[in-house]
């Protein structure tokens, strides 16, 4: 007897929606194993006071219950942490929407983290060099410059791929580190605030240089950008020829060429769109929650957005839901660090497991499991 993956006739719509939930469940099981093993490793099993192996095991389960609460529930119980959740979800979703378009066209922009950094830099140019400008056009100009910066930086791997056939996964990823180091240099060197007591930050932006908040909360108007971008991307994919081209070239490049669509144009276009959204996310961080240019403006939002794009089924609306879940993992990771003394890498482990499981579960969209009873081989006959 063996288990086989059998190709389905058509993709399973049900599995396309169930897969992220199944992945989440598997991630929770994986998380339980990690917490329990972590607890076992911290207990001296030879010490009778610790209750031995079973005592440690029991403690592990208790810890896991607390972990789940701290990770998933606690951040939702207070207003300030809900605001924090929105603040973290905003850049992640913005970037993920752009990446979804990229991945649908079978183009692999892995360098959004770098495009965020460049967007933050180019967007900060105006408030740093013209600190007294606060007019109504200041903020829009900063946002536009941030988007242009992200686009220009994303154009590098796209053009390298078109001209030289380089692998965009490698070039876009490597350019992340270039951008981060350049940002670090600017924040420590030429753009450092001369009156900042030698802290490696720029001057703090104020007045017309920061994003206004909504209602009486700390939620900024960048949340509105998220909804605009999601709707625009949804419309593009669902109703326009451009979206059709993206899908065709992503699924069957040969058929795309036969339809008269240009693969190269699409590589450039999707990189530019995703770069623009990453740049926007970057400048919204600087002109929003962070409030100044620092040596680092993103705790890995550009990479988290990759997971969000897949978890959201490469659908802009799906990215909104997935974005909030992954934003929760940032807050939950901090909580687990404080409450349980776990490593600050918990968030990363959780995110990595989630991506791994969602990609694995996606196999079931096109395949189903079948249990095959091995037939007894008869002599003289041959199966082909």
């Amino acid at each position: 007897m063996r288990v086989e993956l059998v190709r389905r006739g058509e993709r399973s719509a049900a599995m396309a929606y169930l897969s992220p939930l199944l992945a989440l469940l598997l991630t929770l099981i994986g998380g339980a194993l990690i917490v329990i093993v972590w607890r076992l490793s911290t207990v001296d099993l030879s010490n009778p006071a610790s209750g031995g192996f079973f005592g440690a095991l029991q403690q592990g389960f208790v810890d896991y219950g607390r972990f789940l609460y701290v990770f998933f529930i606690e951040p939702l119980t207070e207003l300030w942490s809900l605001e924090e959740l929105v603040a973290k979800a905003t850049p992640i979703i913005l970037v993920a929407i752009g990446l979804s378009l990229c991945y649908l066209s079978n183009t692999w922009n892995i360098g959004a983290e770098g495009q965020i950094a460049v967007g933050a830099i180019t967007g900060s140019f105006l408030p740093i060099f013209f600190p007294d400008w606060h007019g109504p056009f200041m903020l829009p100009a900063m946002l536009v410059l941030g988007m242009l910066g992200g686009m220009a930086y994303a154009a590098i791997p796209a053009l390298l791929k078109i001209r030289f056939g380089t692998n965009e996964i490698l070039t876009s990823l490597m350019l992340v580190y270039v951008a981060q180091l350049f940002l670090d240099y600017l924040a420590r060197g030429p753009w450092r605030n001369p009156e900042g007591h030698n802290f490696p930050d720029s001057r703090a932006f104020d007045g017309g240089q920061v994003l206004p908040t909504l209602f009486d909360t700390n939620i900024r108007i960048s949340l509105i950008f998220v909804f605009i971008a999601a709707f625009a991307a949804w419309f593009l994919m669902r109703w326009t020829k451009m979206g059709f081209q993206i899908k065709v070239l992503g699924q069957a490049p040969r058929a795309g060429a036969f339809a008269g669509f240009s693969q190269n144009r699409m590589v450039l276009l999707t990189f530019l769109i995703s770069g623009a959204l990453a740049g926007l996310a970057g400048i919204c961080e600087v002109a929003g929650p962070v409030g100044q240019l620092r040596t680092s403006v993103s705790p890995g939002y550009g990479f988290t957005a990759i997971i969000v794009a897949f978890l959201g089924r490469l659908n802009p609306i799906g990215a909104i839901f997935a974005g909030f879940l992954l934003a929760l993992s940032y807050l939950g990771g901090e909580g687990a660090q404080i409450a349980l003394g776990m490593s600050d890498q918990t968030t990363r482990v959780f995110q990595g497991m989630l991506l791994f499981f969602v990609l694995a579960c996606d196999s079931f969209i096109f395949y189903r499991l079948q249990i095959v009873r091995t037939p007894t081989l008869q002599t003289g006959t041959v199966t082909s």
Binding site: R11, W239, K247, R254, A255, F258, G260, V382, S384
Partner: protein
């Protein structure tokens, strides 16, 4: 034609089939794929020291038989004797252990590695790299296969890469080497070098099973030939004693089919598709370069391009559809408008339509619905499927329904994914999508490949009907019966050359078979020598 025939009939040099008991004797080999008999009771005896040709059209069963002998496939019935002993060949490594080696048409080499590294990877016994390099040098000198063991494969020509494959095979001391169309990727000069090597091999008693459809080569180097047709052995002969014409007839058969078109093709109509002196270099080393191709298809006629697979049909299709453009606009004209340098959308706007050989992934996107696949080729042809850049999905669905109705596309749900349709139904859809436009020019490759008889009849009839309504149709097909059935004129493509077209009536299968076997190509130096001799 006559001149070439006369040249080909002259034996190059006399070769004697060695008179010894067979090294490998396969009897009654039958291979079923479902209900289809790919091999049907095949007997094959290969003697040591002979070059044994295996001749046949596409689909005659050559590849299946060879895969069985090399252990890739298992026969449904039949047995194999090796040196008189019955053997089973469960895997290629078992075949190599017996002493059977194979050189594939497409090489399996790592481009980034050196020759010696590539060979070391394939050998089961470990030797030091330098000892292996010495051995490679020794063999390459012995058999006339000049090769530098330390060169990187990426830098080698196709001919040199083939030498790596042959040397790798020879290092295992085979007694039988199977070669699958070895000259199809070689220049004439490289082919000559290969023949010298083959002679050296056979002089040492090694046998060669030589798969080819190139009659001239077979006549020149083979001692014996087994000819397959429709999975059966139709004849065995000494190729040097037969004329090329006789070999061609045996290969393609003699039965004649009746044409099904009621109306004769109209006379003296305008040319709708013309190709003049179209040449394109090969896009990659295993592709075929197109060489000075010229053809004309007039309104109301079906022109067929026959030929054996891999002789430039795919390259020609891409050049006609505009998926590959050429610099000279005049090389392709649609309704008198030069368009050689414009892409596929521009050519569609001129009234041309195209159906590629591969349905899934080229003619249709498997995971998209039929209504989306309609859009694939008709987004810019004035079908009103887009309004100000916004898709009109209702219009697309109606169009898909119309095509499905008129071409009897059977589907389980109203708008299924293309990949879920059966081959025949998808082909009806892909052909129907283009015919529905009433295109002035239709280029269709392998219109009925892998399609059941019912669907094939519908498609062929639709092509003829479209032609009689005034369109020009070009059918590229490896199915000779199909070409003879529906085409008014036939040309044959061979190694990227296209023969002049001839009216189908009054054309014999023998003539087509000769052209398919490479006898219609321009004379090369060594064919010139044949003429002299």
């Amino acid at each position: 034609m006559e001149v070439i025939l006369a040249g080909a009939e002259t034996p190059a040099q006399s070769r004697q089939r060695p008179d010894s008991p067979p090294l490998l004797h396969a009897t009654g080999i039958t291979k079923m794929f479902g209900a289809f008999k790919a091999n049907d009771g095949i007997d094959l005896a290969i003697r040591p020291g002979e070059i044994h040709a295996l001749l046949g059209e596409n689909g005659a069963g050559k590849s299946t038989l060879v895969k069985i002998l090399y252990g890739v496939l298992q026969p449904t019935e039949g047995r194999i004797l090796w040196k008189g002993q019955p053997v089973g060949i469960p895997s290629p490594s078992a075949a190599r252990k017996l002493g059977i080696g194979m050189v594939f048409q497409h090489f399996s080499l790592f481009e980034a590695l050196t020759v010696v590294e590539n060979i070391a990877l394939a050998l089961s016994d470990r030797k030091s790299r330098s000892a292996l390099a010495r051995e490679i040098e020794q063999i390459s000198v012995e058999y006339g296969l000049p090769l530098n063991p330390s060169s990187v494969v990426a830098d080698l020509s196709v001919g040199e890469r083939q030498r790596v494959e042959i040397v790798r095979c020879l290092l295992q001391n085979p007694e039988l080497i199977i070669m699958d169309e070895p000259t199809s990727v070689l220049t004439p000069q490289e082919a000559d070098d290969l023949f010298v090597t083959l002679d050296k091999l056979t002089a040492r008693g090694c046998a060669v099973l030589y798969i080819s459809h190139r009659l001239e080569e077979v006549k020149r180097i083979c001692h014996h030939a087994t000819i397959l047709r429709h999975g059966k052995v139709v004849s065995e002969c000494d190729p040097q004693k037969e004329t090329a014409a006789k070999l061609a007839t045996m290969m393609v058969g003699v039965e004649v089919r009746k044409l099904s078109s009621d109306l004769p093709p109209p006379q003296n109509t305008r040319t709708r598709l013309s190709v003049t002196d179209l040449s394109l270099p090969q896009p990659h080393p295993f592709a075929v370069a197109l060489s000075h191709i010229s053809l004309e298809v007039k309104a109301g006629e079906v022109m067929g391009i026959a030929g054996i697979a891999g002789n430039g049909q795919g390259e020609l299709f891409d050049a006609l559809s505009g998926e590959r453009t050429c610099d000279r606009a005049a090389s392709v004209s649609i309704d008198g408008k030069p368009c050689g340098n414009s892409g596929v959308t521009a050519r569609r706007r001129l009234g041309a339509a195209f159906v590629p050989e591969e349905r899934l992934g080229h003619g249709a996107v498997p995971r998209m619905r039929l209504s989306d696949n309609v859009l694939l080729t008709r987004h810019s042809t004035g079908d009103h499927l887009l309004r100000a850049g916004v898709l009109d999905t209702d219009a697309a669905r109606q169009l898909a329904d119309r095509i499905s109705r008129s071409f009897d596309v059977r589907k389980g749900t109203p708008d299924p994914e293309a990949g879920s349709l059966s081959g025949g139904n998808l082909q009806k859809f892909v052909v129907g999508r283009e015919i529905d436009r009433q295109p002035g020019v239709l280029v269709v490759s392998q219109p009925t490949w892998g399609v059941d008889a019912g669907a094939a009849a519908i498609i062929r009839q639709a092509l003829i009907d479209l032609a009689r309504s005034g369109s020009a149709i070009l059918v590229i097909s490896q199915d000779l019966d199909e070409v003879l059935e529906i085409a008014d004129h036939v040309a044959v493509i061979s190694k990227g050359h296209l023969s002049p077209s001839r009216p189908t009536s009054g054309l014999t299968r023998e003539e087509i078979g000769l052209l398919m076997g490479g006898m219609g190509e321009p004379l090369t130096a060594d064919r010139g020598a044949l003429h002299a001799g």
